[in-house]
C-alpha cells in the first residue's frame, strides 16, 4: 500500500504541485469509501467475542475448547474483510496480512499444545488457559483495533480512536478481577451480617459454655470490639503521624538543603522497611521485657492489659498505643511526601505575592501555602488511613480477641485480626471456631470502612480544593 501510494505521489508531484499538495493534505491515498469499509464490522464483532472469550478463559481453569476455533474465526473474518477491500480498491493492508499470519500460527500452536498442560496437572498456576487466554486477549484486541481503524475510514483521527481498545483492555481486566473478588466478599459477607454481630462483643464465657455443652454457638458472638478497634487504631496512628509528617513535608519543601536531604532520605528508608520487620523487632522487645507482666506502667503501656471480671489484670500481647505508634512510623513518610508535593505545587506568583507583602514564613504558610497544599495533605492522610486499616501483617504479632474492650492501653484488636484469626485459627481456638463463619463479614466491614473513608475524603478534598485554590487550577 505504502509503496504504491508513494509512487503515485511521486508521479502526481511531477505532474502538478497543487495536486500533490491536495493528496498530502488529507492523506486520502489510504482512505477507503464508506460502503466498502463497512465490511470491517465483521472482524470487529468477532474480535469483541474473542475478548469476551479470552476473559472467560482467564477466569476458568478448565481445558480450553475455544482457543483454536477463536483464533481461526478471527483470522477468517479479517481475511474476508481484507480480500473484500482488495477486490474493491486493489489496496491490501500489510498489517492485516501480518495479523492473519499471527492468528494462523496461534491457532496451530494452541491445537498442538500438549495435553498435560490441561487443568491443574502441572501445578496450580500454569494450565493451558494461562497460555492461550492472554494470547487470545492480545490478538483479539489487535484485530479489534485494526478493524476499528478501517471501519472509521483510516483517517489520522480514526488511528487515534483505534488506540482505545488497547487503553481500555487493561482497565477492564483490573475491574473484572476486582469485581470478582468484591462479589465473593459481598456475597459471603452479607450471609453472616446481622445487627447482633455488629453490636455484640466476643464473649469467651458464652463460647466456653457452648463448647462444654457441645451445642451450636448461640447467641451469635460479635465483632463490636474489632470494629471499634479498627477505628481507634486508625484515629490514633493518624494523629501520631500527622504532625511529624506535615512538619517534615514543610521542611523538605520550604527549606531545601543538607538537613532536608537527610530527612528525605531517612523517611524513604523508613518507608522501605516493611511494617512486618518493624513489628517483628518490636515484638521481640516485648518478649525480652523484664518485670512482672501487666504490673508495672511500662508493661501496661506497651503490652496493654485486660481486666477480668474479678478485677485481675492480665497482660496482653501489645497495646493500641504500641501498635498505633508502629503504624505511625510507616504512615508519617506518606503524609510528609504528599505535603511536600502539595507545597511544591503552589504557584510561584502566590508565593512571591505573600513575600512581597512583608509576610513572614509562618504567616505565609498558614494563610496561603498550607491551605493550597490541603488537598494533597488530605490525600496523604487517606492513603495512610488505607494502609492503617490494612496493616494486617503487624496485627499477627500483637492482636488479641479484644474480649475486654477497646482503649489506648487495652490489648489491640482489629477487623484484620478477625479475618486472619477466624480463618486460620490464631488467637486461641475458641475465637477461631466461634468466629469462623464471619471472617468474610469482617472483610466486608473492612472494605466498607475503607470505601467510606475514601468517599468522605474525596468530597472533603473537592470542597477544600475549591476554597483554597479557587479557579486557579482544576484538581
Amino acid at each position: 500500500m505504502t509503496a504504491r501510494s508513494e509512487s503515485e505521489l511521486a508521479l502526481e508531484n511531477s505532474q502538478s504541485t497543487a495536486a500533490g499538495l491536495e493528496r498530502f493534505s488529507l492523506g486520502r491515498s489510504s482512505q477507503i469509501a464508506r460502503s466498502i469499509r463497512l465490511v470491517y464490522g465483521l472482524p470487529l464483532a468477532v474480535s469483541l467475542m474473542g475478548i469476551a472469550g479470552g476473559m472467560a478463559l482467564l477466569i476458568s481453569d478448565q481445558p480450553d475448547p475455544i482457543a483454536t476455533p477463536a483464533f481461526s474465526l478471527l483470522a477468517l473474518a479479517l481475511l474476508a474483510a481484507t480480500l473484500h477491500v482488495r477486490m474493491e480498491t486493489a489496496v491490501t493492508s500489510r498489517s492485516a496480512l501480518a495479523l492473519i499470519g499471527l492468528l494462523a500460527v496461534s491457532a496451530l500452536a494452541s491445537l498442538l499444545l500438549p495435553k498435560w498442560l490441561y487443568g491443574l496437572q502441572l501445578n496450580a498456576i500454569i494450565s493451558r488457559t494461562a497460555i492461550t487466554s492472554p494470547l487470545l486477549l492480545v490478538l483479539s484486541t489487535a484485530v479489534c483495533s485494526h478493524s476499528l481503524r478501517a471501519l472509521l475510514g483510516n483517517t489520522p483521527g480514526a488511528g487515534d480512536k483505534a488506540l482505545y481498545p488497547w487503553l481500555i483492555l487493561p482497565i477492564f481486566l483490573v475491574v473484572l478481577a476486582y469485581g470478582l473478588i468484591f462479589f465473593n466478599v459481598v456475597v459471603d459477607g452479607l450471609h453472616g451480617l446481622s445487627l447482633d454481630l455488629l453490636t455484640r462483643a466476643y464473649d469467651p464465657t458464652v463460647v466456653a459454655k457452648n463448647v462444654t455443652a457441645n451445642t451450636q454457638y448461640s447467641p451469635v458472638p460479635g465483632l463490636r470490639n474489632q470494629i471499634l478497634g479498627s477505628l481507634l487504631l486508625l484515629a490514633m496512628s493518624l494523629s501520631f503521624a500527622a504532625l511529624p509528617g506535615i512538619g517534615a513535608g514543610v521542611f523538605m519543601a520550604e527549606y531545601p538543603g543538607r538537613i532536608a536531604t537527610v530527612i528525605s532520605l531517612s523517611l524513604q528508608m523508613l518507608r522501605a522497611i516493611s511494617l512486618f520487620v518493624i513489628g517483628a523487632a518490636a515484638y521481640s522487645m516485648i518478649l525480652g521485657m523484664t518485670g512482672t507482666p501487666g504490673d508495672d506502667l511500662t508493661s501496661k503501656l506497651v503490652r496493654g492489659v485486660s481486666l477480668t471480671s474479678t478485677g485481675l489484670s492480665l497482660p496482653e500481647r501489645g497495646s493500641f498505643l504500641l501498635v498505633s505508634g508502629l503504624v505511625a512510623l510507616v504512615v508519617a513518610p506518606v503524609i510528609a511526601k504528599m505535603t511536600e508535593e502539595g507545597l511544591r505545587s503552589v504557584p510561584r506568583e502566590l508565593r512571591e505575592a505573600s513575600v512581597a507583602l512583608g509576610a513572614g514564613d509562618g504567616f505565609g504558610l498558614r494563610r496561603v501555602l498550607l491551605p493550597w497544599a490541603g488537598p494533597n495533605i488530605l490525600t496523604g492522610l487517606l492513603i495512610a488511613a488505607a494502609e492503617t486499616s490494612a496493616s494486617l501483617a503487624i496485627i499477627i504479632f500483637f492482636a488479641g480477641t479484644g474480649e475486654t474492650g477497646v482503649g489506648p492501653v487495652n490489648g489491640v484488636t482489629t477487623l484484620d485480626f478477625a479475618i486472619f484469626a477466624s480463618h486460620w485459627g490464631g488467637g486461641g481456638n475458641f475465637f477461631a471456631t466461634a468466629m469462623n463463619p464471619y471472617h468474610m463479614t469482617a472483610a466486608l466491614l473492612l472494605i466498607v470502612l475503607a470505601l467510606g473513608m475514601t468517599v468522605a475524603s474525596m468530597l472533603m478534598q473537592r470542597r477544600m480544593g475549591r476554597r483554597a485554590r479557587g479557579s486557579l487550577t482544576a484538581i
Binding site: E349, A353, V355, A356, L357, G358, A359, F363, R467, L472
Partner: protein, 292 residues
C-alpha cells in the same frame, strides 16, 4: 518604623498628597540625609548562576514621583526592580554586589522581611490570593500584625486609591478570583497600598491586560503620584511617557540615561536613548542578531 501605622496612615491620607516620608530623618535615624532620594542603588552588580545581568547600576528613586524603567527585553529591568525589595533572595543562585540604600540604610544588611514591609511590589501577572477581596487587601496588614480597629477604613481607602472601590464595594466578601484580570491587578495594587509602603515597585503591571483595563490601571498609578513613590518597569514607551515623571533607560545591564521623562523623550543626551525611544534600537538589535 517607629511611628505607629495608624498615625502614618492618617497623616498620609489627610495630608492630601503631601507625603510623610522623612520620619527616619526626623528621628535622626538616617546616616546620610538624601532629602529627595528615598531609595537608590550604587554601582549595583548582579549575577544569576554566573551570568552577569546588572553591570554597575546607579539609580536614584526620587521621593513621591513615578520612575519608569524602560529598555529592551532581557536588559535587566525586571531584575533591577526585584533586587530593590530583595525578591532576588528567593532564587538561590543569585549574587549581588554594590549597594542598595533605603532612606540611607543599606538594604542588604536589613532583615529582608522588614525591607519588604517598606518596599511593596505589584507583579506582572495579577496574582490575587484565593480569598475574598477584603482578605486580599488585608493580607499584608494582617501579616504585619497591625491593629484590627481600622480594618474597614483601610480596605476602603486602599481600594479607592487603586480606583476600584466603586466596582467592588458591594462584593467585598466574594472571591477575588471572580474578578476580571484588570480588576484583579488593581486589587493587587490596593493590597500593596494597604500597608502604606515607602516605595511601590511595579513589574510591567499592565503587560497582561487589555487596553481598557490598562487605561484604568494607569489611572490608579497616576492617582498615586505625589503620595507614593513608584518604580515601574514597562516595555511600552507610550505608557512610560504617560505615567512617569522620571525615566531610566537600561541597555544590557547598564544605565544609559536617567532623567525627567519629558526631557528624555524630547531631547535625549545619548544616541542609544534616542534610537530606542524612536524605535530605531529595536531594528539595530535585530540586525545585530541577524549578523551573528
Amino acid at each position: 518604623m517607629t511611628e505607629s501605622f495608624e498615625n502614618q496612615w492618617l497623616r498620609r491620607s489627610d495630608a492630601g498628597g503631601v507625603a510623610v516620608q522623612d520620619v527616619p530623618a526626623a528621628l535622626g535615624l538616617r546616616k546620610e540625609p538624601t532629602p529627595t532620594n528615598v531609595m537608590e542603588t550604587q554601582s549595583l552588580q548582579l549575577w544569576y548562576s554566573g551570568r552577569q545581568v546588572l553591570k554597575g547600576v546607579s539609580v536614584p528613586v526620587v521621593q513621591g514621583k513615578v520612575t519608569a524603567i524602560v529598555g529592551p527585553s532581557g536588559c535587566g529591568k525586571t531584575t533591577l526592580l526585584r533586587s530593590l525589595n530583595r525578591l532576588t533572595d528567593l532564587s538561590r543562585n543569585c549574587r549581588i554586589e554594590g549597594k542598595i540604600l533605603l532612606d540611607g540604610e543599606d538594604c542588604m544588611a536589613m532583615d529582608p522581611v522588614a525591607l519588604r514591609r517598606r518596599v511593596g511590589m505589584v507583579f506582572q501577572r495579577p496574582n490575587p490570593f484565593p480569598m475574598s477581596i477584603r482578605e486580599n487587601v488585608l493580607y499584608g496588614v494582617r501579616a504585619q500584625k497591625r491593629k484590627k480597629a481600622r480594618f474597614d477604613e483601610i480596605v476602603e481607602a486602599s481600594l479607592r486609591k487603586a480606583v476600584i472601590w466603586d466596582e467592588v464595594k458591594d462584593r467585598l466578601d466574594e472571591s477575588a478570583l471572580n474578578l476580571s484580570g484588570g480588576q484583579q491587578q488593581r486589587i493587587c495594587i490596593a493590597r500593596t497600598l494597604a500597608v502604606s509602603p515607602e516605595v511601590v515597585l511595579m513589574d510591567e503591571p499592565a503587560a497582561s491586560l487589555d487596553p481598557r483595563s490598562t487605561a484604568k490601571l494607569e489611572e490608579s498609578v497616576m492617582a498615586m503620584r505625589g503620595e507614593y513613590t513608584v518604580v515601574a518597569v514597562t516595555h511600552e514607551l507610550s505608557q512610560a511617557r504617560r505615567i512617569s515623571e522620571n525615566l531610566v533607560f537600561i541597555y544590557e545591564g547598564h544605565i544609559v540615561e536617567f532623567g525627567e521623562t519629558k526631557q528624555l523623550f524630547e531631547d535625549p543626551r545619548e544616541e542609544a536613548t534616542r534610537d530606542y525611544l524612536s524605535g530605531g534600537l529595536v531594528t539595530s538589535i535585530e540586525e545585530e542578531e541577524a549578523a551573528s
